[in-house]
Each structure stands twice: as C-alpha cells, then as structure tokens.
C-alpha cells in the first residue's frame, strides 16, 4: 500500500465537500438568481446607500485598530526579543495566551467595564467629576477591537524579532550607528515580514467582526460583518449576504496582495543593502 493513499479520503471527499463547495455556494448565491447568471446583487450593493457606509466604517475601524496595535505591540515584541530566552518564553505566554481565548468573552469583559455605572464611568467620574459614557459609540468598538487583536500583532512581530540575527545589530553599532539609526536602518527593515503578517492577522478579523459591533456598538456602529449577519440570519436574504461576503473576501485578498508586494519590494531593497 502506498502511503500517499492515506490522504485520499480527505483530498477527494472532505476537502471538496466541506472546504471548496461552500465557497462555490457563496459565489453561486451572489451571482445567480433562479438558475441564471445576474450581476444585479453586485449592482445593488454598490448603488443602494445601505451597504457602502458600513463597508467604510469597517475599513476605517480596521485601519485604526491595525495602526494602534502596531504602535502598542512593536515595543512589546522588541522588549521580549531582547530578554533572556527562557524568561522570554514564559513572559511571551502572557501576551500570546489571549490570542487563543474566546473573543466573545473578551469583548463581553469590556462591556462590563464600559457600561453605565461600570468601572470606566467611575474612573472618569473620579478624574473629571463627570461619569463619561462611551458604550455604544465607535470609541467603544475601537477599544474592544484593539484589545481583541493586539496579541495577533505581538506574536508574529515577536517571532520575527527573536529569529533575527543579532550580529547585524552588533555590526551596525560597531560601525558607529547610533541607537536610533540601528533601529531605523537595521532592526525595522529586518522585521518587515513580521510587521506584514501582524497587519494581516489584525486587519482581516477586525474588518469582518460582527460580535464586537453588536455588543459594544449596540446597533449604532454599523459594520459590514453585522450587515452580513443580519441579512443571513434575520432577513433570510442569502443573495445580498453572499455578495457582501464575496466583497469581504476580495478586500482580504487585496490587502494580502498589497502586503505581499510590500514584502517583496522590501526584500529586494534589503538585498541591495548588503
């Protein structure tokens, strides 16, 4: 018996039925009506005023989330990478563990913190004399997306920085570079692959979330994920839901393509650097 055959049940049964076919169904529902091809749903998505604003909201929330995660997460990853290996392995667990934890639970925790009479209101009341209420605003959604996805930024950055050959840094210092120069000319360019995978790992889920905007946006912050969820689960309209899903996939593919391009360009300039 050839060992290759062991993979056949998965390759020829499970994978086509449960991975490939579902995607084709989404495509089918988005482009067919009563068995004939149509682009009406696509047109509807781009001409009706319901969908594009939600898409923009999702994109800017995802962009801000990604930027803040990068700014907050890079120093964490960098500090971890300079620590002794054994300590770093344990400390990094603290930052990586939440990544695998239920996002719903972590979002829910923020609802308790931000809700009327919650900890956040008490703190702002103590500081300014007036309890401030940010639940059900874009700010609340942003805090939660940053919180939820920060570990996804830290992990790839940490892995890249840890694997980086430290002799490059030493060489730069020996050749007279200042600390800032070493960082901008050596460490930062070498960590671009980590930055890129971090950005993709944060941007994609942040753009497509619906639980966060439902729990902390309270219907006032409309994101594309929530629109898809409503269409499919409440209004029983798989056509528009599927069309928007395809749009989401295309956006994901575009962002990945941009990232790949940046990565390639960077590695080619990196090549001429040496």
């Amino acid at each position: 018996m050839k060992r290759v055959r062991l993979s056949y049940p998965y390759i020829f049964v499970w994978m086509p039925i449960f991975i490939v076919a579902p995607m084709l169904f989404v495509l089918y529902y988005a482009t067919f009506r009563n068995g004939s091809f149509t682009l009406d749903y696509v047109k509807q998505v781009f001409t009706t005023s319901n969908y594009l604003p939600a898409l923009w909201t999702s994109i800017w929330i995802a962009l801000v989330t990604t930027a803040v995660c990068l700014i907050l997460g890079y120093p964490v990853a960098y500090i971890l990478s300079t620590m002794k290996k054994r300590t770093a392995a344990l400390v990094s667990l603290l930052f990586i563990m939440p990544m695998w934890m239920n996002m719903l639970l972590r979002t829910f925790a923020w609802k308790i913190v931000l809700d009327k009479g919650g900890v956040f209101a008490s703190i702002t009341e103590f500081l300014t004399g007036q309890p401030s209420q940010i639940l059900y605003t874009p700010a609340a959604v942003l805090i939660a997306t940053i919180y939820d996805f920060l570990p996804f930024m830290i992990l790839p950055l940490y892995t890249t920085l840890m694997k980086m050959d430290k002799s490059h840094v030493e060489a730069a210092r020996d050749l007279g570079a200042t600390g800032v120069q070493t960082f901008t000319k050596v460490i930062l360019p070498l960590s671009v692959p980590g930055i890129i995978s971090g950005i993709t790992m944060v941007f994609v889920p942040a753009m497509s979330t619906f639980a966060v905007s439902r729990m902390l946006g309270g219907g006032k912050v409309k994101m594309i994920g929530e629109v898809i969820e409503r269409k499919i689960m409440e209004q029983n309209d798989p056509a528009i839901g599927s069309t928007l899903s395809i749009l989401l996939i295309i956006l994901v593919l575009i962002s990945m393509a941009i990232m790949n391009k940046v990565d390639k360009e960077n590695s080619s300039t990196g090549g001429t650097l040496w």
Binding site: L6, M15, W100, M101, L104, R106
Partner: protein, 275 residues
C-alpha cells in the same frame, strides 16, 4: 542609565499586561458580587454561580452541546488530520502544495465567511437546522483539520523516513510500521493538535453561530443573552468559568511545546558533542 532603561521596559510590559488582563479580572471579580447587575459591587456572594446552574438560565443543554461537539470533533479531526498528514508527507511537492493551500482556506478566510458558506452548503444538501448537533460537528471538524495537519506535518518532517523503511526491512507490514514506528514518533504533534482542536472547538463562536441551527452552545448562549442591554452577573460567572477551563488547557499546550523545544535543543547538543 541601563537600570533606568530596564525599568522603563519592564513598566511598559507591565502596562500592556494590565491592559490585557484587567477587563477579564474585573469581570471575574464581578462574578462574585451579590447584586444582580454586573455593574455595581454589593458584597461577596456565590449567588451568580448558583443562578448560573439553576433551571432559569438553562445552561445544561448548551453545556452538553459544547462538550459533545468539542470531544467528537477534536477526535475526528485528529484522526482525519493525522492520517492525511502522513499521506501528504509522501506526496510529490507540487500536488502537496496545492492541497496545503486549499487546506489553509478555513484558517485564512474570515470566520464569518466560513460560517456563512457552511450554512449555505448545509441548506443545499438538506441538513436541516433541526440537525444542529451534526451540523456543528461537521463544521468544527472542518475548521479543526487544518490545525491538526499543520501541527503533525512538522513532526513528520523531523522524523526520518529511514525509520519506516528499517521497520519494513525488519519484517513489519506497512500498517505495523505505521502504528509501531511512525505514529509513536510523531505522537507529540498529534497530541498538540488534539488539544488545540479541542480548545478551538470549545471556544468557537462565529462559525457555530451560523451553522448551529436549533442547537445552542455556550458561546451562542452568552451572545444571545449579553448582546443587548444590561447584563446579569450569572454571565460573568459563566465567562469566568470558561476562561478558567480554556486558560488551563492553553497553558498545558504552550508549556508542553516550550518543554519539547528545550528537549529537542538538548538532544541536538548531545548529538553534536558525540559527533
């Protein structure tokens, strides 16, 4: 100067850790309050936990659903994933990389899209919403298989093919060679994959939400009760318990993998010294 810099570094890490764990800590703290709302602290009590397990909340059925789906789907995914990985390992490079990229789809796709797409599939093949348990199990097996495959594959690459051939030369049948030599050799990868699959299944909300039909798991229960309006403390209690269980599982997986890396490094050192 150096001391000061180290202090700054430590302080920064501390602040971020605080940011990451404080909301969870507050939530767990609030699960012990006597008041009915999760916003005001009113003396210590286990009332929230008592209420959580009362008939009013109806936690029994979602709890059983979550556990059954996690156990069955992680075992099935581990079986299918391991067998597939062994097959894939001896496949030619070109077809293998095609299969690998399709396998990655559920990991790359937004969960929302995976959930929607599986829901459409189930509707088409006539797996009615009343068959929620079966739908949940199929969906969870599907999103777990890639994680099992990708935690077993590296172990296969590390283990040497000559072991398998040696076993055959010494008179093993191919099946014996697999079960007695190859599988024990890649066992750490299989176990990590199994625990990871179990945790992911226990934790999943988005995909389950779309395919669950009439069945509700714990995350779905939590979402339906907390998405809108005020929140009762019993859901803080539920969250606290879920955190505890998943946290312990993750700690086991991660410490295992750190220890394995250390052992592998020491093994390598020994071999190098001998050579």
């Amino acid at each position: 100067m150096k001391k000061f810099l180290n202090f700054i570094k430590g302080a920064y890490l501390g602040i971020v850790v605080l940011f990451m764990y404080l909301p969870i800590a507050i939530m767990i703290f609030m699960s012990f309050t006597e008041s009915r709302s999760a916003m005001r602290w009113q003396g210590f009590s286990f009332g929230a936990y008592r209420k959580l397990f009362s008939a009013e909340v109806g936690i029994a059925d979602p709890l059983i659903t979550t556990l059954v789906v996690a156990v069955v789907s992680s075992l099935l995914a581990t079986l299918i994933g391991t067998v597939t990985a062994i097959g894939l390992h001896s496949m030619k490079k070109r077809p293998r990389s095609i299969v690998e990229s399709i396998t990655q789809l559920p990991m790359v796709n937004p969960d929302l899209v995976t959930g929607v797409s599986m829901m459409l599939l189930f509707a088409f093949i006539g797996l009615r919403p009343q068959l929620g348990l079966l739908r949940l199990i199929i969906a969870h097996v599907t999103f777990n298989i890639p994680y099992v495959i990708f935690s077993v594959m590296p172990k296969l690459r590390q283990s040497s093919d000559t072991l398998y051939e040696a076993a055959m030369d010494l008179g093993c049948t191919p099946i014996q060679a697999l079960t007695k030599v190859v599988i024990p050799d890649i066992m750490p990868g299989i176990v990590s994959g199994l625990i990871l699959a179990f945790t992911l299944s226990l934790d999943d909300f988005t995909i389950s939400y779309f395919v669950g039909g009439t069945k509700t798991n714990l995350s779905m229960l939590l979402f339906s009760k907390t998405a809108k309006g005020g929140v009762g403390t019993e859901f803080c209690a539920l969250s606290a318990l879920m955190f505890l269980v998943v946290g312990i599982l993750l700690l086991i997986v991660n410490i295992r993998s750190i220890r394995q890396e250390k052992e592998a490094a020491e093994q390598k050192k020994k071999v190098m010294r001998k050579a």
